[in-house]
């Protein structure tokens, strides 16, 4: 019997700049514009077995990803070379 897999996803990021010419923007142009720093992260955990899903979701270290995102934000702010291009 088919069991629909259950899943949980965590999205990390911060609301950012919405560019005015969004309709003409491409992913590549966005990366050039935003620089070599992480701006968002998504972790998706799925399983057909609820007990397995629960074990992984409970043990998932959300603060580790938050710390990674915060560090990237600090790097981005401190990067004078990047801001020189803006």
């Amino acid at each position: 019997m088919f069991t629909k897999p259950a899943s949980v996803s965590f999205v990390f990021g911060e609301s950012l700049i919405r560019r005015s010419d969004e309709s003409t923007s491409t992913p590549e142009a966005d990366v050039v514009r935003t620089g070599p720093f992480l701006l968002s992260a998504e972790v998706w955990i799925a399983s057909e077995r609820p007990e397995a899903l629960d074990a992984f979701v409970r043990g998932f270290n959300q603060s580790a990803i938050s710390a990674l995102m915060a560090r990237e934000k600090r790097r981005r702010k401190a990067d004078r070379e990047f801001w020189g291009w803006q």
């Binding site: 899943s7 965590f10 999205v11 990021g13 609301s15 701006l39 968002s40 972790v43 397995a52 998932f60």
Partner: protein, 156 residues
């Protein structure tokens, strides 16, 4: 009927068919890629720059717990092209890491692992990466500081 009329007609028909074929070919031809239009902003993602992003993916994967009884297989996927003003400071659009975890008791030949985990790190903000209102809502309701809500389940 004037002599030579059929020849003119044939020539006209040939011109018409040629232009129609040319316009169809132009319509079928894919538009130029970003890298074709912006060669200076596209770079091969190699060396230390690549290793930096592999390191970020590994760091993110460390947030996933090691659950007793489960064995996980790791796979990191990074684009071969990076975008930026210089090669040293270029970045891929996103980095994906996958974990397939199977329980010790699961049949080795089972088609699917017991648990699948994907981690996607992006150089683009979440609402751009995921698109519009849905991503905004998801980011709010599934923020790490809140308990996982039913709306966080499932994936588009």
């Amino acid at each position: 009927m004037k002599p030579g009329w059929p020849r003119r007609t044939i020539a006209f028909a040939v011109v018409l068919v040629t232009s129609a074929v040319a316009s169809i070919a132009a319509a079928i031809e894919p538009p130029p890629t970003y890298c074709q239009l912006n060669r200076l902003k596209c770079h091969k993602l190699v060396g230390p720059t690549r290793m930096h992003f592999v390191g970020l993916a590994r760091e993110a994967l460390r947030a996933v717990p090691k659950v007793p009884g489960y064995r996980c297989h790791e796979d990191i996927v990074i684009d071969k092209t990076a975008y930026g003003h210089t090669a040293r400071r270029s970045a891929p659009e996103s980095i994906s890491a996958f974990l397939s975890c199977s329980h010790r008791t699961t049949d080795r030949h089972a088609l699917r692992p017991d648990v699948e985990i994907s981690v996607v790190l992006s150089m683009r903000p979440a609402h751009v990466a995921e698109g519009g209102a849905r991503a905004k809502r998801t980011a709010r309701s599934c923020s790490p500081n809140r308990r996982v809500s039913p709306s966080c389940s499932g994936r588009a």
